[in-house]
């Protein structure tokens, strides 16, 4: 059993670590610092932490003001509210101005669990991917959450880092993390699985099970959704019989759509999407919800089988 880590805990620790070496970093939250773990930074650097209360629009627009003065601003809330409620402040304030605002949102996707549909962001990647100047990272596990946050801090411009609520199994032997560069975790010629976030470990489980049946698949951790590693996608399309894209997000507008766009324009190939299919979420335990919404390794295996036949 792989080590299970909480990406949020790692976010909080990483933020404090960055805060120690860079006094230019300020952190904002909207009454969820205990959940997003920005509280770790707040405790160490109270003067550089601003709680905006339950007012995400104000938080993201004020982030622009702070960034206009040269600050590197981390702003956190749940993915639903950080991106949905404050979308236009992100679009017109953060992204249009190319400000160094790093939105690190927790509680993304269906695995938010019992809180139900209102809190389960399944559209956040889609609505931020369309915004120019925005970079998007969806780390696949705990250690990668740290790498994502460091990459966001170290690169200019607006970033969105999407992390989960629940503990995530650590993916071993990923190789070096490079922003914008996919990690090929295994190679096979029958199909390619391109996944992000918590779906990467599901994809690896599916790949093991498929190998036992004699089906060899590539597994690609597409941690950076934007800018997308198009070469990796084209290579996957060219070296296999088809691609299965897996994400804990709507099949509309997210990684699945991004892969389809690249494939359609560069190397037409069959692409099947494992994601949430035009539905709202609901209450339940994360594992139950992954089953209910067809986001398990078995669902990935089925999709691969449909390609390989």
């Amino acid at each position: 059993m792989a080590e299970q880590l909480n990406q949020r805990d790692i976010y909080g620790k990483t933020l404090a670590e960055l805060g120690r070496s860079d006094s230019n970093i300020v952190v904002l939250d909207a009454d969820l610092s205990g959940s997003t773990k920005t509280s770790v930074f707040a405790k160490e650097f109270p003067e550089r932490f601003f709680d905006f209360g339950i007012a995400e629009q104000n938080m993201l627009a004020a982030a622009s003001g702070l960034a206009s003065c040269g600050k590197t601003v981390f702003a956190s809330s749940f993915a639903m509210f950080a991106t949905g409620r404050a979308w236009e402040q992100i679009r017109n304030g953060v992204a249009y101005n190319k400000f160094d605002v790093k939105i690190v949102a927790t509680h993304a996707g269906i695995t938010v669990g019992p809180d139900g549909a209102s809190h389960q962001a399944l559209e956040d990647i889609a609505i931020l991917r369309v915004i120019p100047n925005m970079s998007i990272i969806v780390p696949c596990d705990g250690p990668q959450a740290r790498e994502a946050v460091i990459a966001a801090a170290g690169n200019k411009g607006p970033f969105y880092v999407r992390i989960a609520r629940c503990k995530v199994p650590t993916v071993e032997n990923k190789g070096e993390f490079k922003f914008g560069k996919a990690q090929v975790l295994r190679r096979g010629k029958d199909a390619a699985i391109i996944a992000c976030g918590i779906m990467v470990s599901q994809a690896l489980t599916a790949a093991d099970n498929l190998a036992a049946k004699g089906i060899e698949v590539s597994v690609i951790n597409m941690h950076t959704i934007k800018p997308l590693d198009t070469a990796a996608v084209i290579d996957a399309a060219g070296s296999t019989k088809g691609i299965v894209v897996c994400e804990e997000h709507s099949i509309y507008g997210g990684l699945g759509s991004a892969v389809c766009e690249v494939v359609a324009e560069n190397h037409p190939a069959k692409v099947l999407r494992v994601g949430v299919k035009n539905r709202f979420g609901q209450s339940g335990e994360p594992d139950e919800l992954l089953k209910e919404y067809n986001l398990t390794s078995q669902d990935i295996e089925k999709a691969v089988s449909a390609i390989v036949v």
Binding site: Q57, N58, A61, A62, A63, S64, G65, C69, N97, F99
Partner: protein
């Protein structure tokens, strides 16, 4: 008041010229917002030529005072002031709203002197709050001025910022409400009443001053007073006349977002003594 009669006269003269520039650039652009540009011209003039500390050669000088026009559609007044202050050549005013032009229909950060894009209403006070918080954090003594509109005050985001600026005791922040009483669909009081607006700001924890926002002496005096207020932000509720200075535009709702024709512009410039 630390201003001599001569200084005040000069400022009045400047705002008259800025009104002329507003009319000329909007007529050339053939679109844009004259009403609010004219109502806010005296406030913008007072800020740029009596109050703000800036260096047009170094627009991002860290110690500069900041001005942010949250009601970004009134940027012709801002652009005219920035050009007059030397941030960019006056020639640029002629290309307002044209393809590839420096001066966009609503402000953006590529324009020297503009801190952040604006135009989507309700967000600029939050941006100014962020700048004020950065100033406190960096122990800078710059001041932050933000111009908002009365129609804009219908946006919820304004009140989120109002609450937070008082909470964080941003006495380096001074907002000015250009209360000209009109918005696109009609009178603010008919479309969505915001009154009693001064009471609202006071209730939100701001020091509130009410003035005639087209009276230079009152504007200067209020801006001076705001600097003395400690531990809370200041809101200057500036009662203005939409279209101020051009008789046939004054209090006429249709001139909110409709540029003057050539004939109207000629007539307006004559009235302003800018022909």
């Amino acid at each position: 008041m630390p201003y001599t009669e001569k200084q005040v006269q000069e400022l009045k003269e400047r705002s008259r010229k800025i009104r002329g520039e507003i009319i000329e650039m909007l007529c050339l652009a053939n679109s844009g917002h004259p009403g609010g540009s004219l109502s806010s011209a005296d406030i913008v003039t007072a800020l740029y030529f009596a109050k703000l500390r800036y260096n047009p050669q170094k627009p991002f000088w860290p110690d500069r005072d900041r001005f942010h026009m949250s009601k970004g559609h009134c940027c012709p007044a801002w652009y005219a002031a920035l050009a007059e202050a030397g941030f960019f050549p006056k020639e640029e005013l002629k290309d307002l709203r044209k393809l590839g032009a420096l001066l966009q229909g609503h402000p953006d950060r590529t324009i020297p002197g503009v801190e952040a894009a604006s135009g989507s209403l309700g967000q600029g006070l939050s941006v100014s709050l962020g700048i004020a918080l950065a100033g406190k954090l960096d122990k800078k003594d710059y001041r932050v001025y933000c111009l908002i509109g009365d129609g804009e005050s219908q946006e919820g985001n304004i009140w989120e910022a109002a609450m937070a600026a008082a909470h964080y005791k941003c006495d380096n922040l001074c907002a000015i409400l250009d209360q000209n009483g009109l918005q696109i669909d009609g009178k603010v009081s008919d479309v969505m009443n915001i009154e009693p607006v001064a009471d609202k700001w006071t209730a939100f924890g701001w020091h509130t001053i009410e003035i005639d926002g087209n009276n230079m002496e009152e504007i200067l005096s209020a801006l001076d007073k705001a600097e003395t207020i400690k531990n809370k932000p200041t809101m200057i509720v500036a009662h203005t006349v939409k279209g101020k200075g051009v008789s046939f535009m004054e209090n006429v709702c249709s001139f909110h977002g409709c540029a003057p024709t050539k004939e109207e512009a000629q007539k307006a410039l004559k009235e302003l003594g800018c022909d």
